[in-house]
């Protein structure tokens, strides 16, 4: 029994195109699902998504992906309808509605991909209000709902992630020096107050590093890269300082607030949507 799931009456072109789009979709959907659910992207903020949607290569990827998905999906549903051999007066309007639906969702998807929220707007938003609760699609193993990046340890882990993966670092210390915590040391083996002290020390070290980077000043605009989230350690440090301030205010962390508001000889520039990145 040859398993032609789409009725042979659906036509040779639809039949072969269903297979061709299927093969392509295995790759497209595999990359999309894997990236969103199995990589460290699963534990990131909207900044990661905004970076991707503002990248022309990813825009091209998603335009092809959405078109293929809607073609393959609606062609499959049309095949199912034809398998039941409805009379023409039912089949033709049903197929018209289905293909209209496909067109609608392709246009909607294209609009999302080609006109994303500008990266500067997203950066400005986090710099102004800090990270909110539940700021990640990644769940801790306990299935806890709240995943609060305002918590200093999570905030620092996220900063480490952004510095490592989303910053074109032209200067500055290696990650291990920026983030003074040693991953080999299990925080659970410490007394809670020792662990808290350790996290606070990490935050202090990070702020020291950010301040040093900021004294270097912005990099030459010629050396900026538009396809990374942050074109230099300087851009990242300014943004991170703003986010740290906002988060510190939300969790009433007076030490961090004081460090940034009193001990700094220059004022923090607010991050603006129109800034180069």
């Amino acid at each position: 029994m040859a398993e032609h799931y789409i009725s042979s009456r659906a036509g040779q072109v639809q039949w072969i195109m269903q297979r061709v789009s299927a093969i392509l979709l295995v790759g497209f959907a595999g990359i999309h699902f894997g990236l969103q659910h199995f990589t460290s992207d699963a534990v990131s903020t909207g900044l990661t998504v905004a970076t991707r949607l503002n990248n022309p290569y990813w825009q091209a990827y998603y335009i092809v992906f959405i078109t293929l998905v809607m073609y393959h999906g609606i062609n499959g549903v049309v095949g199912i309808i034809r398998d039941y051999n409805p009379r023409r007066s039912l089949r033709v309007p049903a197929e018209f509605v289905l293909w209209s639906l496909a067109l609608f969702f392709v246009v909607l998807g294209m609009r999302n991909v080609t006109a994303p929220v500008p990266l500067g707007t997203v950066k400005e938003s986090y710099a102004a209000r800090g990270f909110p609760k539940g700021e990640s699609s990644g769940n801790p193993p306990t299935f806890a709902i709240a995943y609060d990046f305002r918590d200093e340890l999570r905030e620092l882990a996220l900063m480490e992630y952004y510095l490592e993966h989303h910053t074109n670092r032209s200067e500055g210390a290696p990650l291990a020096e920026v983030f003074a915590h040693d991953p080999a040391v299990r925080l659970t083996t410490m007394k809670p107050e020792d662990a808290e002290k350790r996290v606070a020390a990490c935050g202090e070290a990070f702020d020291r590093w950010a301040r040093n980077v900021m004294t270097n000043g912005p990099v030459d605009p010629q050396r900026r890269q538009r396809l990374t989230t942050f074109s230099s350690s300087y851009e990242f440090a300014v943004w991170a300082a703003n986010v740290r301030m906002a988060n510190a205010k939300l969790r009433a962390d007076q030490a961090t607030i004081d460090r940034w508001s009193t001990n700094v000889s220059f004022s923090l520039r607010p991050y603006r949507a129109t800034d180069l990145h």
């Binding site: 398993e3 297979r19 299927a22 659970t188 410490m190």
Partner: protein, 153 residues
């Protein structure tokens, strides 16, 4: 010696409840492959409608995006994520199998064996994928810090 699946005595039909067998339709291994492929396919296209609409909604502002992500962290969406993964995996693997069967350059005398092979592969990949989905072991630096006493969750 491989015995072809002839219906009532097959592994599938033995597992089916009586009302299925008395419905007048004879279920074979191929029927299971066919029904599962259709069910997952229809579920996936409905999911994609929902997915594009929710992305559109979340595109309005960064705040709207954060709200959507927050909603998607709740346990019902975690169950949905696992179902999505299972459906996508089956539909993709069975689709590859269909293409192999359709374009096979030799006589395919082992269709059912091929399906069971893909079913085992699908189950294996499902279990392998469930581990990071449930534990997020792929984000070790974050995981190690999740266990801070008093902090975090």
């Amino acid at each position: 010696m491989h015995h072809p699946d002839r219906g009532p005595r097959s592994a599938l039909t033995n597992a089916l409840p009586a009302q299925f067998l008395n419905s007048g339709y004879r279920y074979f291994t191929g029927s299971l492959a066919y029904v599962l492929h259709r069910v997952t396919g229809l579920a996936l296209i409905f999911f994609i409608f929902f997915h594009i609409l929710s992305i559109t909604k979340s595109q309005a502002t960064p705040e709207a995006y954060d709200l959507m992500i927050r909603r998607m962290q709740e346990p019902d969406f975690k169950v949905g994520e696992i179902l999505l993964f299972a459906g996508l995996l089956y539909h993709a693997l069975n689709g590859i199998r269909i293409v192999i069967v359709d374009f096979a350059w030799t006589r395919t005398t082992h269709h059912k064996r091929l399906w069971w092979g893909f079913a085992v592969l699908c189950a294996g990949l499902l279990v392998a994928g469930l581990i990071p989905l449930l534990l997020h072991s792929n984000v070790q630096p974050l995981l190690q810090q999740d266990i801070l006493p008093g902090g975090g969750n």
